[in-house]
Symmetry: C2
Subunit: 168 residues, 2 copies
Amino acid sequence: MDAIFNRRSIRSYLDKKIEDDKVDKLIRAGMQAPSAMNGQPWEFLVVQEKDTLKKLGEMSMFSKMVGGAPLAIVLLGNAKKMRAKAFFPQDMGAASENILLEATYLGLGGVWLGVNSISEREKFVRDIFKLPEEIMPFGIIVIGYPGAGQENKFVDRYNPEKVHYEKY
Amino acid sequence: MDAIFNRRSIRSYLDKKIEDDKVDKLIRAGMQAPSAMNGQPWEFLVVQEKDTLKKLGEMSMFSKMVGGAPLAIVLLGNAKKMRAKAFFPQDMGAASENILLEATYLGLGGVWLGVNSISEREKFVRDIFKLPEEIMPFGIIVIGYPGAGQENKFVDRYNPEKVHYEKY
């Protein structure tokens, strides 16, 4: 499927707002992900205000691009409502990938910034949004129209040494 | 994108082998997933032998369908080669979702069985394949042509209460 094979991490963006119907599609794509016991442990925080995007960009040396993006979707989970907490990172990984693939399909580009399991980053996101204790920051998907020199295109990651048949 | 919105957990399958080129596409889709620091922490174990599929089906009360499937892809990680171990479950979640979406796109159906973080299941998979200590079982993606009464189709999971704008 083209979106899977062409998706790349896109880290610079045109100065162009993302249409509301596209933002909506991205969120809906995230919610269609599979999850353990169909627990759907996610919540989505849509950020388009420049000031907040700039603040998010200060999370680490790898997140500066957020300040120049028109959209960040902060993925969260509610610890009090989880059916299968042990599977939280896996479930959220699937939801994140859905958003990135839908973005690719819609002509957008994005990058995934990991937050969950890095305590300084969790605290950083928690502080910006004053999240209640039970709300766990998972990650940030940064999205925009790809900037100059950036595009989704196929780069082959296939490595036959990583495939085994019938036995390890 | 249709595959994202129509994907369902498919748990019964036609008695029909999956073509080699489709198996190959599924693995390639998995390897195209994003991963922290592009660490690509995955390995894939392709299982099509009936006896092994039956054994895998005994993992838990939720995994019986493996015994009736033509294909299971066991996702593994090598602890000694991980660039960003803290992100292992998230990265593998994205790879798992890629395989499930590619399966949907190819007219197949699948279901994701969680293994990582459930120690009995990890041991169960480890024992079947006599995995070296550094090889970590992550999960099992079970795949086949959808059986009678099973199909990928859109079921809306959108929940507006899970979307927040600018602040939580």
